[in-house]
Amino acid sequence: MDKPLRVDLEMFEGPLDLLLFLIKRDELNIYDIPIAKITRDFLVYVGMAKELKLHSAGDFVLMAATLMKIKARMLLPQDPDGDEEIEDPRTELINMLLEYKRYKEAAVTFEELERSERPHYYHIPAPWTAEEEDQTAILEDVKLYDIMLTFQYLLKNYEEPLTHHVAVEEVTLSEQAGYLSSLLQTKGKISFLNLLERFESRLIVVVTFLAILEMLRSRQVKVKQSKLFDDLLISRGAEFGNR
């Protein structure tokens, strides 16, 4: 390390912010980032994060992995024939950095606007009480978020009596496997996300997911996913129906 690290990781909004800092500090060319060096410096900071109780630490670790992957790809020999232009492994990262920088700059503008608006206080009118409004507190204006919060709040207070009426749900792996089989029998394919919407409790979701894994192992089902974190498409496997 060429420069003392007297900077706290908590200063950074995330891994991209840290990378922008390192680039600026070392006056690096953003189009030609020395990936080995920046990965090394980055890792030092992430090492510090382990001691810090930083709740975005996971995002820093993920970026560290990305940097190491890019570094490895840069070491691969180029196509010897040279008939196909190989994309610089850093391109995606550069684009991310530049895009983030645009909004980081915009955030500064917002901060300035906030500061200039600070001394002004809006007039807050006394609550309007029209004759037909007998109700107590009139909410200024209702957003969907208020509806969510209210329902969540009501549900929290209501949970106690509810458990008295409803017996504890007992759901077993084989029940859920049977349920999946019957669905696949009629439908052929099931979307995992749609499937989840049928279940009210986390427990059932977890058990169902385990059932899918189990059926996948015994090749009763196949699962396809187009990209990471995308919906799972469940269909019949080679051993479907043979238990």
Partner: protein, 184 residues
């Protein structure tokens, strides 16, 4: 500090205060520039100004302090601000009822009251009047109670296509349970 300056300060406080201005609060805002003039005296000076310049508002003394209100003669116009076409303004009771119907529909009055723990007739009426709810069919159960659900207007207001587009409880929890991210 002269009364002219104090008048301006009191006016600013009246305009910005979310609740009626009390003598104690007024003094707390003044800090170093303390004065012996009672708030009521400054208020009465301001009132004279407002009458002279034919302002549309006046200062009202309520139990807890002073606040600026519009003169009653303008009420017919002000009503228009709060008419149905405007923003959604609901009481806490109506909001609770609306929240239950949104997430549990179709639902009977009994179901709603079981969750809220209080009678919900008047909030149901308000919500029906404002066309946020509608009655659709009857319960299959023995009482054949009326079933309530949200209206198309409700969906439009929140920019939703169908009831299914409401934030799911799972999503609600995601948003509400930040901070609990695991630490490294």
């Amino acid at each position: 500090m002269g009364i002219a300056d104090l008048k301006q300060i009191v006016e600013a406080l009246l305009i910005a205060s979310p609740e009626p201005l009390t003598d104690a609060r007024f003094r707390a805002c003044l800090k170093d520039e303390a004065t012996n003039i009672p708030l009521a005296d400054i208020i009465s000076e301001l009132e004279t100004d407002y009458t002279k310049s034919r302002r549309a508002f006046e200062i009202k003394k309520v139990a807890s302090g002073f606040q600026i209100v519009t003169k009653s003669e303008f009420e017919p116009y002000i009503k228009g601000l709060f008419s149905k076409a405007g923003k959604l303004r609901l009481s806490q009771a109506a909001l609770e009822t609306l929240a239950i119907v949104s997430y549990r529909q179709p639902v009977t009055k009994n179901d709603i009251e079981a969750i809220r723990g209080v009678s919900s007739d008047s909030s149901l009426r308000t919500l029906l009047d404002r066309k946020l709810l509608e009655i659709r069919g009857r319960d299959e159960g023995p009482g054949r109670a009326l079933l309530y659900r949200t209206s198309t207007e409700f969906l439009q207001y929140f920019g939703l296509n169908t009831v299914k587009d409401l934030p799911k409880l799972r999503e609600v929890e995601d948003i509400l349970s930040e901070e609990q991210d695991e630490l490294l």
